[in-house]
Amino acid sequence: MSTFDWIFKLLGEYWALFLKGTGYTLIMSIVGTLIGFVIGIGVAIVRTIPVKASANGFQKAAMKVVNFILSAYVEIIRGTPMLVQALLLHYGFLSKMDKPLLSAFIIISLNTGAYMAEIVRGGIISIDKGQFEGSQAIGMTHFQTMFHVVLPQAVRNIMPSIGNEFVVNIKDSSILSVISITELMFMAKSAGGSYFQFIPAYLICAVIYFILTFTVTRLLRILEKKMDGKKNYTVFGSQSDPDAEIHVKEKA
């Protein structure tokens, strides 16, 4: 039988396995990206709290300690392979629970969080200082400034990087087969192993990965467009007619 025939044979027999594997891959990457995003935002907000020159010694010291812990988290997670983190965390610390999926969620979220923290921080830094000053001068606190003014703009700007993280998560969650998660890669291996036909199985698996990542990138592009808001606006009333509505379109 040719590779092509094997692909159909494997799909026909093991489609349920591939589907289940795809489900696990998707759920892990979605959960990981979402929780990682929340972690990233939290870390970035705390790390951008301005310390006033007049702050007392205790406040300054507390901020230093918190910042040290947060940057240690970011550096350690970014500086070690996710494979090693997965093995250490699951077999070392969470083995008693014996809930591989929970371990997987924790690992992928912590991992994404470390990268997101830097991405969000970059997004916040890129926002014009005037936006912070405008918010402060009107009486907003640091957190209000962040949530209502800065983050909506920063998140829009970092959407391409968030998309990157999502795509990376879809692919890198395959590593988590080492802690016996039956995600797509794991399933492909088992399906291929039953007839010793790995190449057709991996080909199927590659196509599915590509469909997943391609769909996600397209969806995020649509989301970005939505976040940009309307391209046109309405002017109410003209010089001759107060009830007139003039619809203005933005120049290209």
């Binding site: 006033k52 405008g134 001068a137 009107i138 003014v149």
Partner: protein
């Protein structure tokens, strides 16, 4: 102007009032009249304000009072510390010395809730600093809801009133990126007004505008001055300083060199540095 709610305890207000009476005011009823009898009603008192950035001393010992209804123009050459002083009053810059009294309360004191004070001291920036992620209307509505905890309905009503006042009600659902500089600055003024502040600080509000847009912003500011709003305006517009304000402060080298009525400063400046500055600036304008 609407009567403002003051977020201070009663004692603090009374303390401010007592101190004010001590300054010779008799609590004249006319809010808009700016006379010496009204001197006790100061909103802000700047005392020996100092600010250094490292070794560089930008402000050296600045003191003056701001009374209710005052329109104070601050003029002076670039680098004289005008903007820094204004930013210190809003505490965007932390003063390194001196006190800023708001109705008798020292707002440089760490126990004072800064956000409440800042809501009372509005600020209009050279670069507008409108919130880019919000429409013109929301720029005026959201801060009221976030800082003053007003309901959306109430905030919208107030915002529309002030957007109308600055002549921008036609553009309420445009975003800042879709508007011209003059339009942005008028919305920034409406945003500041929507908070019902006691005083608005203008930091060179027309310096970033194309010449043909300066007029529309100045005319809004003229109207505001006429309505009795307390204003401190750092400006290079000498005609505004001369015609609209009731007091002019000339700053140079981090100190107040001369202070007085527009007639005094522009008509018969006493200090040599003021004379030089004015002849240079006015000469340029006329030529």
């Amino acid at each position: 102007m609407k009567k403002n709610k003051i977020n201070l305890t009663e004692e603090e207000v009374i303390a401010g009032g007592v101190a004010a009476d001590g300054c010779g005011g008799n609590g004249a009823a006319e809010e808009n009249a700016v006379t010496d009898e009204n001197a006790g009603k100061y909103v802000l008192r700047i005392e020996n304000l100092q600010k250094s950035f490292g070794d560089h001393e930008v402000l050296k010992d600045i003191s003056f009072d701001v009374h209710r209804g005052d329109v104070i123009s601050v003029i002076g050459p670039s680098g004289s510390g005008k903007s820094t002083m204004l930013r210190c009053i809003n505490l965007l810059e932390e003063p390194t010395g001196g006190r800023i009294l708001y109705h008798g309360t020292d707002i440089t004191d760490k126990s004072v809730k800064l956000t409440e004070y800042r809501a009372k001291a509005g600020m209009v920036f050279q670069a507008f600093n409108l919130f880019n992620n919000m429409t013109a209307l929301n720029n005026c509505v959201k801060p009221q809801m976030i800082v003053l905890k007003r309901s959306k309905e109430e905030a919208t009503l107030i915002a529309r009133e002030y957007l109308e006042k600055v002549g921008m009600s036609a553009y309420i659902n445009a975003r800042p990126a879709q508007l011209s500089g003059g339009q942005k600055q008028r919305i920034a003024i409406a945003r500041a007004l929507s908070m019902n502040p006691e005083v608005i600080l203008f930091d060179e509000p027309t310096s970033a505008l194309d010449p043909e847009m300066v007029g529309e912003v100045l005319s809004v500011m003229r109207d505001l001055a006429g309505s009795g709003l307390t204003m401190i305006v750092v400006t290079h517009e000498m005609s505004f300083a001369r015609d609209v304000s009731n007091r002019v402060i000339f700053m140079d080298g981090g100190v107040i060199v001369e202070e007085g009525t527009p007639e005094n400063i522009f008509g018969s400046p006493k200090v040599q540095r003021t004379k030089e500055f004015l002849s240079r600036v006015l000469g340029e304008n006329n030529g």
